[in-house]
Symmetry: C3
Subunit: 463 residues, 3 copies
């Protein structure tokens, strides 16, 4: 067996018994996944997933980041190759390095998928590489492993994707039109048209103008176009926006200042400070629009993207070389909060890659401002220890009810149940300790466990 | 029952047994409270406390901060209202939101007071709101609930207040004159006359001049006036000063530079940098005076005060919108430490809202400089997890003996026993783990537990 | 007894049983000590160690830092005195303050040495001071306590020293020539000739020129001289370099820029920014040379050296007044990593005094770049809690295999077995928790424990 029924529960027998009992009450709840990076196309077309290498290794930068750090080349893994030439060989490299993942969440997620979906019970290694490859390959061809069947098997209630304002959302429309009663929702992620450092920024804005019929060469038309795009997302059920900025900086410029800055960044001649100021202003504009249209706003700051220059030049974005940076919230958010911080109709969900902000800035901010909530531990911190630190460092100041349940944030569709399972287990483990230390009654803990697994996410994301 | 006899002790039976045994040896020790925000007037006049809403909800920004974050308005809570119109209704709002405090220290403190002082054993909720209101209201009218009676019941040995140099300390004088044998001591908190950003700074300094008969329009008279004010506090038994600066920055200007800077800040035309430099210089001046007069110096840096502009404009200071900031000590304290760092007769107690400083800067500094000691976890970190992190991150470098026991730092008089009880339990829990892991003998741990609960605070604050 | 067989293992019986079993498999492995500050002279000449005060107190700034913080003067401890006048008195001061070390790693290391080497079983205190002094003094005169005998008794396999490029390495040569089959290796630590703030920088470079016959008045001759010095170290078996910079800043200047900057810093007229830029450039140069010659590179940034001005002026460097600072890696290392980050033949080991970098920057960097590995918790963090935080915060992102085992980093030869024992126990305790929580099989954990204690250090340091 790869997985033990009591995994992730504290070893102390009293605490474990409580954790187990809490978990039994939430383990079968539907999965609400309000933030992630799966493809609507999978569900629109419902084609079988390809081979194991293409499914597990190629899209998962958690995996090839680690392999790369230990000397495996991206060439060996055929990263960036449209059609993998030798998937079995790629799989074998992965299998023979699987020991590198000991103690990591990737290992937990994969073992969960291997065992519960594919019935594999011996650990992945060079020795079992082919067994894994063949077993997985075969199952992927069966109807039970088509995307829609898996969606249902995973007991998903909502699954959000992340989409550019330029996206036609055609696949989302196809899903809707198909009559398949699943709730797969787009999320409005405007980085490509609000971040002057995004590749093709000016062209993207021109395209946005063409798509919306607005004059995006000027500030007011640009804002109108964004409003239109948001409305289009909402008409397909979207409830949220997402913003992946390098910092959490916000600004509140006057209308003429903003209009002038827009001209400057559009010209391509803006300084780094002006580009940062523009991103800052756009967070505030997005917050203002959220007050109007009710879209929940997610802010994901603090990643130094594409840190490895050579890899970026050869392979482009998202190859596992994004590194977190120290992130300030207390000063950075002030201009936006001065404007909208006390709005009761607004929800802004904050994430961090800098765990030092949990107890110092994020919990105090969320424990005060009505519009603020804390997103779950993110990216590198979406892990048992990371989740536990989040609860330990956030709860005493912000409570449980200024948090929003779990995000899986994944490109790896097959890892979704595993990730939510880890989150539920860790939350139950944390609550069990509070119960065992007589800081909370077991009855209350059960209510909180349910809220963390199901209720808070639906409320926060307005689902 | 709201409270379990073993609360806050680790679940592991061996460790719990040790924690319980250590705690038994310190639970009944007198409470020494060297830093807090209770009112001397309560003890001078010994009037009954008002209704439950006025007593528990209105003065406690921990409480209404959380309620506010979840959409309750300050109007609903009648914050800032002199005379609460509908205390029962305010209490009901609080009661029906009491679940928000699950997992927070506020919940521990309140349950402790509810049960041990008022005999309430069913949890506070909408359902029990009136029962609580009536029970508490009734008891507050009895002689046993007058301030002096509670002081004695709480087994307080010392209780320090926090006072402006402009305060007449009349209430402290009344207490002294009354012959009541309690030790209620003022603390010299000069923010209003050393921080150019404090409301009414120049007027405050003029008042200080009038009160002391010194020429506070000039640097030397200003320093003399401060010396006089300190002497006045000492004559009433004060042993400490307290400094609530935005940063820990210190400076060591020449006398002419300082004199000129004083003129500039007094004129109201100083830049932000000059105002910060003046605060920095004044920390060093206060340290110099402490070398002379023996007052223990407390430095509380790192809070971005009044972060919520709209609330500040409407309600003023201290409405739960102060947010911690990253805080540097290693460079900031250097000018002051260059001057007085090696003084054996000086005690400077450092606090932080930035927990990252514990292991990186504060423990190494306190583990070297003879004048430095570490204050207990403060404000948002005065909590079970916060206290445990403090011990875990500080002890290995600074030991136990460069710390100073516990501060309750509270405006909420009724929470004092609860807060000290939490501190004693967590210290015993930490020590119990050291014993269980054979890092300390149980005999030594008992000695340390006693020192942390009683001896260190008396020594550090010279009580 | 001072030491319990189960010390540092978690109290939970299941977890403890697993920890014990893992530890049994690694406790007797040879000690590989790839980074430290013992003296080759001890082993070259094999003289008896002097008295207990000279052996334990005088060279150990962990000890006198703590004593100093509590009011003991360096005069009392005869620090900086060539020949201790009254070692028994110094020892008594230490003994009577031994309680200050409760909860610190120093206490663990010393008790280990006292009991296992000297057979002392009653705790050190004023009462046992003379017993300790006499017992230790007597044993130090026996052949079993000579340096070489202890090296063998400690089961050392490799012991690295830290040496200036100006050092003749005569003692290393004597050891080699003696035929004694121990592996005592120099480490190339060029701070004195690459850091313009190092005392005697220009003179040191002139000496380097004289020793190598290169024209070190110019950039190219300077680089050649460094290459020569590295080759000399390698010829005596050195496998690593070490760099103790205030920050982790690197730079990648053009050759003419670097040559010009070298002239400027050599002139003594460089600004602080230029001196920092030169250090930054030299890290990159050292990395470039490591690509050529295979020396493993260690970077130790983040200490504000000689923070106590008065002590520095009187006693010089390394008197316990070095205080950690916030340390950035993600931006600082970028210039160097742009150049050599993807080199598979290069190993750069990163250390930190700023624990916030573990999960935010160091683990993500090491979990991506092939050349990067993480050094063990360092200095103030070389402690049970510090080691546990390291594993908890690093493993989920970087795994175990981007770490390099343990460094004792000590001047105190007698503490080496104790320090490695603490590291092995804590690693086993961490692994035991993973096993007890079913995150790793016990079989895998045993393999990892062995790797952490023995295999990784040999691989990373190429020993």
């Amino acid at each position: 067996m790869l997985m033990h029924e009591d995994r992730l529960f504290p070893a102390d027998p009293t605490t474990r018994r409580i954790a187990r009992s809490l978990y039994e009450q939430v383990r079968s709840l539907p999965i609400v996944s309000p933030h992630g990076h799966t493809q609507a196309a999978w569900f629109a077309h419902n084609e079988p997933f390809p081979d194991p290498a293409k499914l597990f290794v190629q899209p998962d930068h958690y995996i090839y980041r680690m392999l790369y750090s230990q000397g495996v080349t991206l060439e060996d893994l055929e990263i960036g190759v449209e059609q993998i030439q030798n998937p079995r060989k790629v799989w074998r490299i992965f299998a023979s390095h699987y020991y590198l993942f000991r103690g990591t969440p990737t290992r937990l997620w994969l073992d969960f998928a291997f065992e519960t979906l594919f019935g594999l019970t011996e650990s992945l290694s060079a020795k079992t590489s082919d067994l894994y490859f063949d077993t997985i390959s075969e199952k992927l061809q069966t109807p039970e492993f088509r995307p829609r069947a898996l969606y249902e098997r995973f007991h998903l209630e909502v699954l959000a994707t992340t989409d550019s304002p330029l996206d036609s959302l055609a696949d989302h429309q196809i899903i809707r039109d198909s009559g398949w009663p699943a709730r797969i929702l787009a999320t409005f992620r405007p980085d490509s048209v609000v971040d002057p450092d995004f590749t093709g920024f000016a062209d993207n804005i021109a395209t946005l103008g063409a798509q919306t019929g607005e004059d995006t060469a000027h500030w007011s038309g640009y804002l109108k176009a964004l409003r239109q795009a948001r409305a289009r997302f909402r008409s397909l059920g979207a409830t949220a926006t997402d913003h992946g900025h390098p910092t959490a900086q916000t600004a509140n410029l006057s209308e003429p200042e903003a209009a002038q800055l827009f001209i400057t960044v559009l010209s391509g001649n803006a300084t780094a400070a002006q580009r940062e100021l523009f991103r800052a202003q756009m967070l505030t504009e997005m917050a203002r629009m959220s007050v109007e249209d009710g879209l929940v706003m997610q802010i994901h700051p603090g990643s130094a993207r594409n840190h490895n220059r050579k890899l970026y030049e050869r392979y482009g974005r998202d190859v596992g070389a994004d590194i977190p940076m120290p992130t300030n919230y207390v000063d950075a958010l002030r201009p936006m909060l001065d404007l909208v911080g006390n709005e009761r109709g607004l929800t802004i969900i904050l994430f961090t890659l800098d765990e030092t902000a949990y107890s110092r800035e994020l919990a105090p901010l969320a424990g005060h401002y009505p519009c603020l909530r804390l997103g779950p531990p993110w990216w590198f911190h979406d892990s048992p220890e990371g989740m536990m630190r989040f609860r330990e460092q956030v709860t005493e100041t912000a409570g449980f009810y200024n948090t929003v349940g779990f995000n899986d944030d994944t490109r790896a569709f097959l890892s979704i149940p595993a990730r939510h399972d880890v989150a539920r287990r860790i939350d139950c483990a944390f609550l069990a300790r509070l119960v065992a230390e007589h800081r909370l009654s077991e009855e209350e803990a059960a209510e909180v466990a349910h809220d963390l697994a199901y209720k808070l996410v639906k409320a926060a994301y307005r689902l």
